[in-house]
Amino acid sequence: MKRRRRTEILIQENGHLAEKLAETIIDVYECKEILAPQYGLTMIKMRESAKNSLFYIGEVLITEAKVEINNCIGIGIVAGMEDELAKHLAIIDAAYKAELPETITWQPQLIEAEKQITKELVRKQAELFKTKVNFETMEV
């Protein structure tokens, strides 16, 4: 599974799955902390829709961590002050980079979590649609 999709699931799932997956690695492999969770910034680049050009809207606070497993460095980055989640994400990233066999078994769990996230998102959106306006043209 691509990193983009994987991190979407692990972050939107609120960190429980990330913790569970990371623990399976910590128990078996040596996880060397390269960078303890630290706070930093990411500058956000946006496209504006008037002239289709780029600009910076501002910065977002992030927590970043780096972990090394079998000479492979994994990075965990997440918006907010999320020390534990950043560390778990870094371990999972390193596990994928080191192609550890555990990562193959993670696939079904990640896909199931993704289904739940989407289900929840669809539900929230449907609820918001109660505020959709149904215009009726009145006779004058």
Binding site: R4, T42, I44, K45, A50, F55, Y56, I77, F129, K132
Partner: protein, 367 residues
């Protein structure tokens, strides 16, 4: 006349800082950070937007420390950001990736996807709700339970919906000019001081972090005749956009790091342009506004000012980029105004001396 160093204020300053803490604590009440996050949504959004730092937690902490003073909270956030490293720039956030929670148009009632009111004060009575005085945890819990029960009746969707932009629909009809993607790297005003003439990216960056009141006032001034832009709001949308950053070595795959909530506005502004026959004809242009959180007034005002600054006019202050861009920043404007209360003993003595000399001279002539 040179500067004269003075001392003697250290103890008074220490006592003053202690007094400040006393003012915050004397009511013997503590407000939790989580309470601010849960109940002061508008304030948090404004502080994040004006400080140009997206972090509801830090914004809530700044609001607590500043006892609700917006300018002080923004100052604290800006000061804090300057202590942090910036290891990443995000991938380009494309506006159509927004997960919309509110979306309205003042230009068309029938927009593709429909108008979604979301959460808004627009249709509320502006009457104080005295029931809130006796609001209890039990009554909140009861209300939430009832509301959640009500939501259970809602019919579900099959998939997540993403809304097309109103302007895209009009562009397809040929009513608005289409612009090719311009991927010129934006300038960053936090890395390099603003120089004039400014670039579009610099203008947008300054305006999106402008003080809400200042941006709104100047947008309003334009509408009242101190500018030449009076738009119709094409679309206001509020929602979350996902943020991705690239891997330092592997540019093929990205990290998702989370969402940020923004308010985005496209305003339609009629302008006169010369056609191929050298005749004037009416065309629409778009003013663009965006800011962190839900702050629709600021985003609409920004869209007016964006259009103003795209058409510099010497006769109108709101079309003057130096006038607009150098006066809307919260830290710069409140900082400069505030410095006036700091000791100016020497400069004022100098002014007094001058006035005394002039008066003495006048008296001598009259004698």
């Amino acid at each position: 006349m040179g500067y004269v160093p003075v001392k003697g204020g250290t103890e008074a300053i220490d006592a003053s800082i202690k007094r400040l803490k006393y003012e915050r604590l004397k009511g013997n009440e503590i407000i939790e950070i989580q309470t601010i996050i849960s109940t002061m949504r508008g304030m948090i959004d404004q502080v994040m937007s004006e400080s140009s730092l997206y972090s509801p937690f830090l914004a809530a902490l700044a609001i607590k420390q500043a006892e609700g003073s917006m300018e002080e909270a923004v100052f604290l956030m800006r000061a804090h950001r300057s202590t942090l490293p910036r290891p990443y720039y995000s991938k380009t956030v494309e506006p159509e990736t927004m997960l919309v929670e509110r979306r309205i148009s003042a230009s068309f009632k029938d927009i593709p996807g429909g108008q979604l009111l979301g959460a808004t004060y627009d249709y509320t009575h502006r009457l104080l709700d005295f029931d809130l005085i006796d609001e209890s945890s039990e009554s909140v819990e009861r209300w939430l339970h009832n509301y959640e029960m009500e939501l259970q009746q809602v019919e579900n969707f099959d998939e997540v919906k993403y809304f097309p932009k109103v302007v895209d629909y009009l562009r397809e009809e040929g009513l608005f000019e289409k612009y090719e993607e311009n991927n010129t790297a934006p300038k960053d005003i936090t890395k390099q001081s603003l120089q004039f003439p400014s670039t579009r990216s610099e203008r947008l960056q300054v305006m999106t972090r402008g003080q809400t009141g200042a941006v709104t006032s100047l947008g309003y001034a334009s509408l009242r005749g101190y500018g030449q832009v009076h738009p119709t709001v094409g679309e206001v949308r509020v929602g979350a956009v996902p943020i991705y950053v690239g891997h330092p070595d592997d540019m093929e795959d990205d990290y998702y790091i989370g969402d940020i909530k923004v308010t985005e506005v496209e305003s339609f502004v009629p302008t006169q342009v010369k056609n191929a026959n050298n005749e004037y004809e009416l065309q629409f242009e778009i003013g663009y506004g965006i800011c962190y959180g839900q702050n629709e007034t600021k985003a609409i005002a920004m869209s007016i000012l964006d259009q103003c600054l795209e058409h510099p006019e010497a006769d109108f202050p709101t079309h003057d980029e130096e006038f607009v861009l150098l006066h809307i920043d919260s830290v710069e404007s409140t900082g400069f105004i505030s410095h006036l209360k700091l000791p100016h003993y020497v400069t004022f003595q100098s002014k007094l001396d001058s006035v005394r000399q002039v008066k003495k001279g006048v008296q001598e002539v009259e004698a």
